[in-house]
């Protein structure tokens, strides 16, 4: 196996002129693979995701997509290269309707995306019901569904999700995980941060435990789940 | 937060240099004139900063409060016009009481009634309006007919003008209370335009209600808290002393008078600044910042957001009213027609933002600096034009045109300087910390 499809390698950096949050942190994912990042609050998981997406300037390290160095690209340009991202917070257009949110997800697509939209509605039926309602009026879990739906609309080759299941009900969460597996099967790389770490690691091909901006443990999902210390310190026993 | 960094001190020093430089390049009288108005501007900026910087209230009605303060100065310090009182004063006051009663009745009806309340309130207001007009108008006519070129109004209380400063503050505070009760539910730019509108209404009243303060006919010759230059010039002791010290008595007299104002204003500013700083650095200030950051959360944490908004709105407005009374005192006249939002509202905002909103020292610095600029951009603009045209051939069309337009360089220069300052310190010269 050659170099990974998407890799943020030895990333070091922080916000603005502030201190470094990430220290030599590496995150990678291959096509069709699900990589899950777990770790305590404030470990730098979201920061790592943002770094991979170019929303923060790195002081050291690089990001490569399919062999190409994209460290210097703007986030938009990365979207153009087939990367999709659901941030952890403020991840929907609150003043726009649910449907418009999804359309915006498909903004860079020039083809007919009604199929994809139908798929998203299938996945999250409630969204279909609330299609014409401003997304800001939705409940917390519904918003989260909109956010994920928006990213799915892009039909990206890499999908990055920052805590997609935060606040969604168990039934929706299960479906969401199922769907993520499905998506991965179509050859899309999935990189996600999860606090519902046990379920996430169950389905993960690869797991990263970040602590204070550093890679603390890396392994397959199963390995990490089996690691007693990881379980106790990061997965809640 | 209350401490100044070395760089802040350097900024104050820079402004001081500007003022002192003005003294050498132009004259000390100019310096003091600008300084006095700068002190008043700093106070206004302080008031706005309380509302915006502490609590995030976007008040664009400063002009109205400043004008009310000015009204306070007239009502306190001008001598009463006995004849006007005799002719129609009582009737006029009775009219006002009737008007107030009508409004109170309407509010009570709105609060008490459950059925037909819209109808009842409308009825009360309508009937009340006509009763009010029938009593009031007669009084107004009688008062305004009394020697309209010189008086034609009720006059004031004839008290020392310094008393009018707190009174001006109180007038503004009262108005702010009423406005706050009704309009503070509005957010951001909606509140802004609402207050802007209210300020226009205040000015409209001042302009058109001649019985109150002569309307657009202006009240001039307000008494002063400091001696008159002429009296000093006529005082032998003063002339003798100044000549002995080697000063020209005329210049010395006007400088003395201005220094008198400076001392008074400085005292007021120092007190206000101390009060504001102490409040800001306390749990009260913390609560205010919390409210500004997130009203919903502050409310959930037990802070009565509405009440606090009202409190700060009233306080900030009172400070503006106080400054307004001081300004009218300094001008020696109340000229409602000169109240323009650009000058009395937006310029003050520029002071706050350029200085650094949320920071009292910033507001004060902004007050001095921006006012100095406002006055000095005129010669600066003209100089700029001279410089630009100096290379051009005499008599060329462009040169003539440029020189002719020099006067308009005043606002242009102001704009450019403002943009430059904002560019290099977007959060203000002394930002909030």
């Amino acid at each position: 196996m050659g170099a990974p499809f998407l890799i943020g390698e030895a990333m070091t950096g922080g916000y603005g002129a502030g201190p470094d949050i990430l220290h030599d942190c590496t995150i990678a994912v291959d096509p069709g693979e699900i990589a899950v990042i777990v770790g305590p609050n404030g470990a730098g998981k979201s920061t790592g995701m943002k770094a991979v997406f170019g929303m923060l300037t790195l002081r050291k390290g690089s990001v490569r997509l399919n062999g190409e160095d994209i460290t210097a690209l703007t986030p938009q340009a990365r979207v153009g290269k087939g990367m999709g991202f659901v941030p952890q917070t403020s991840n929907i257009f609150t003043s726009m309707t649910v449907e418009e949110n999804l359309e915006m997800g498909a903004f860079i697509r020039r083809d007919d995306f009604s199929d994809t939209m139908a798929q998203v509605y299938d996945l999250f039926p409630i969204l279909k019901e609330k299609r014409l309602q401003p997304a800001g009026e939705l409940s917390g879990g519904q918003r989260q569904q909109v956010a994920v739906g928006r990213a799915l609309m892009t039909q990206p080759s890499v999908l990055m999700l920052d805590e997609p299941t935060a606040g969604v009900s168990p039934i929706v969460m299960d479906e969401l995980f199922d769907r993520i597996i499905e998506v991965a099967r179509t050859g899309i790389s999935i990189l996600m941060v999860e606090q519902n770490a046990r379920q996430a690691l169950e389905i993960a091909d690869k797991g990263y435990v970040l602590v204070q901006g550093r890679n603390a443990h890396t392994g397959t999902g199963k390995d990490l789940l089996a690691d007693e210390q990881v379980r106790r310190s990061f997965l809640g026993g | 937060m209350s401490t100044l960094r070395p760089i802040d001190l350097a900024l104050f020093a820079f402004v001081a240099v500007l003022f002192i430089g003005t003294g050498f390049a132009q004259s000390w009288n100019v310096t003091l004139t600008i300084l006095n108005m700068g002190l008043i501007s700093a106070i206004m900026a302080l008031g706005v900063n309380m509302q915006w910087g502490y609590a995030g209230l976007f008040n664009v009605g400063i002009m109205g409060f400043v004008a009310l303060g000015g009204l306070g100065a007239v009502l306190v310090s001008m001598p009463p016009v006995g004849e006007a009182w005799a002719q129609g004063g009582i009737r006029l006051l009775a009219g006002l009481v009737l008007g107030a009663a009508t409004v109170t009745a309407a509010i009570l009806a709105w609060a008490r009634l459950t059925r037909f309340r819209g109808l009842a309130v409308a009825g009360i207001l309508l009937i009340g309006f006509f009763v009010f007009r029938s009593v009031f108008d007669g009084g107004v006519q009688a008062v305004e007919a009394v020697n309209p070129a010189v008086t034609g109004y009720l006059g004031g209380l004839g008290l020392p003008v310094v008393l009018s400063w707190p009174v001006g503050g109180l007038l503004a505070a009262g108005a702010a209370w009423v406005i706050g009760k009704t309009a503070l539910g509005l957010r951001s730019d909606y509140l802004a335009i609402a207050t802007l509108g209210i300020a226009e209404i205040v000015i409209a009243i001042l302009k058109n209600e001649d019985w109150l303060a002569r309307g657009v006919k202006n009240v001039i010759g307000l008494p002063r808290p400091v001696p008159y230059e002429i009296d000093l010039q006529n005082s032998e002791a003063f002339v003798a002393r100044m000549t002995a010290w080697g000063f020209d008595p005329v210049t010395a007299s006007s400088i003395t008078v201005k220094l008198g104002y400076t001392a008074l204003f400085l005292l007021v500013l120092a007190i206000l600044l101390w009060l504001a700083q102490a409040a800001l650095a306390s749990p009260w200030g913390r609560m205010m910042r919390a409210i500004r950051d997130n009203e919903t959360a502050a409310e959930a944490m037990g802070k009565d957001v509405t009440r606090r908004h009202l409190q700060i709105f009233v306080l900030g407005s009172a400070v503006c009213g106080l400054a307004g009374a001081m300004m009218t005192t300094l001008d020696g006249q109340l000229t409602p027609g000169t109240y323009q939002p650009l000058r009395y509202t937006f310029l003050v905002w520029v002071m706050v933002i350029v200085g650094g909103s949320g920071n009292n020292w910033g507001a004060v610095l902004g007050g001095f600096l921006v006012w100095w600029l406002w006055v000095q951009v005129e010669p600066i603009g003209a100089m700029l034009m001279e410089a630009i045209t100096s290379g051009m051939a005499d008599g060329s069309w462009l040169k003539a045109h440029l020189l002719e337009a020099a006067a308009h360089m005043r606002l242009l220069t102001m704009g450019i300087i403002l943009l430059l300052v904002l560019r290099f310190s977007p959060r203000g010269l002394i930002p909030e910390r």
């Binding site: - | 132009q26 004259s27 006919k217 006249q333 005129e378 002719e404």
Partner: protein, 377 residues
């Protein structure tokens, strides 16, 4: 010859609501100064240099600062200005009187200024509006117009004029159907015109400024057919009015300060030669204001205001040789020789009482799209 030039301040509203009047006024004042400088006769050949200051017309504080700078910074020996009554009062009280500087306003016409405390330092070459109201009444009554609607610009000038007119007109038996203010520089005057037209009247009196709300009112009144004829006081009379409305206002009347003295015509020719509009309101008065200061200096033999302030009335009034615009050199010579002059100037100056123009008005009508002077009062 070793003398440094004398400086005279010109404080006018170069920016603000009267910014379009100020350039012509300044040009007038400065033309007089240039004329005197060129003559080389003022106090042993002193030259005169104008220093401009912006009164903004409305911002008392800015105007005061400008005056302060001119007097104490540039050391001007006298001031032409200010234009608007409000700021003029402020400058007078806060700067001129304390510093003992003479100021002569070409255009502040508010009656209130007649009684202002001035230590003999304040003069104006424009008449108080109290007088204009009477003249206006005479003109209208003679034409048999007994009912008019009045609109005035909402400042001390407009209000003062409207009040004095209404008093005089009603005393003469006329009826003012409505007296409504209008604000200058506003976007729309339909409401005002609606009210004026509803009140009715044989003619609409527009006590406003021609390049301000006044024209807006006339435009709206004509467009809606509310009034066909108007009466225009001084603030409205100018070439601009004719340019704006042409024959639409045929049959209207008006008056403004002015005389049949050849001075007015002469001044206009001079202005045309100097490439500015001499008919612009108060431009002539500005020329006269500047001239008066310099002539008074010559008469007193000093540039010290304390000395020459008392000479202003002397040079302005009879007895003496009448002086027209363009004859400043001659006047200086006469004074130098110890003679007496009676400055007539461009606006037939005659200072009365508290040092203000007595008020000579010319009566005009509009006919065939032209402004025609039909008489003088």
């Amino acid at each position: 010859d070793g003398h440094s030039p004398i400086k005279l301040g010109v404080i006018l509203g170069f920016t603000g609501p009267l910014e379009s009047l100020a350039p012509q006024m300044a040009a007038g004042a400065e033309m007089a100064m240039a004329e005197v400088s060129a003559s080389g006769l003022l106090l042993d050949g002193l030259t005169v240099e104008p220093v401009r200051g912006d009164s903004t017309c409305i911002d008392a504080a800015a105007a005061t600062s400008a005056a302060e700078r001119l007097i104490t910074g540039d050391g001007v020996s006298g001031i032409v200005g200010a234009d608007c009554s409000g700021v003029t009062g402020a400058i007078l009280q806060n700067v001129a009187v304390p510093n003992g500087t003479v100021i002569i306003s070409p255009s502040a016409t508010s009656p209130g200024l007649s009684t202002a405390e001035d230590n003999g330092l304040f003069f104006r070459t424009a008449p108080s509006d109290a007088r204009q109201g009477v003249i206006m009444t005479e003109i209208l009554m003679e034409q048999g117009i007994e009912s008019v609607a009045v609109t005035y610009t909402n400042n001390d000038y407009g209000k003062g004029l409207a009040d004095s007119f209404q008093a005089a007109y009603e005393a003469a038996g006329g009826e003012v159907t409505i007296s409504a203010a209008h604000e200058d520089g506003k976007a729309d005057y339909s409401a005002e015109v609606g009210a004026l037209s509803a009140a009715g009247g044989d003619r609409l009196v527009v006590a406003g400024y021609v390049d301000q709300g006044g024209s807006g009112i006339v435009r709206a009144a004509l467009d809606s057919g509310a009034f066909d004829t108007f009466h225009f006081p001084d603030g409205m009379i100018s070439q601009a009015l004719v340019d704006n409305f042409g024959d639409e206002i045929d049959g209207s009347t008006g008056q403004n300060p002015g005389t049949d003295s050849p001075g007015a015509m002469l001044y206009q020719e001079m202005a045309t030669a100097a490439d500015y509009d001499g008919t612009s309101p108060f431009s002539a008065e500005a020329y006269d204001a500047a001239a008066l200061i310099m002539l008074a200096m010559q008469a007193a033999g000093s540039t010290d205001p304390a000395a020459y302030k008392d000479a202003v009335m002397d040079v302005a009034n009879a007895p003496g040789e009448p002086i027209l615009p363009g004859e400043l050199g001659k006047a200086l010579q006469i004074l130098l020789d110890g003679g007496d002059i009676d400055y007539v100037g461009a606006s037939a100056v005659e200072l009365i009482g508290p040092g203000e123009s007595a008020g000579n008005y010319r009566e005009v009508t509009f006919d065939g799209g032209e402004l025609q002077v039909v008489g003088f009062r």
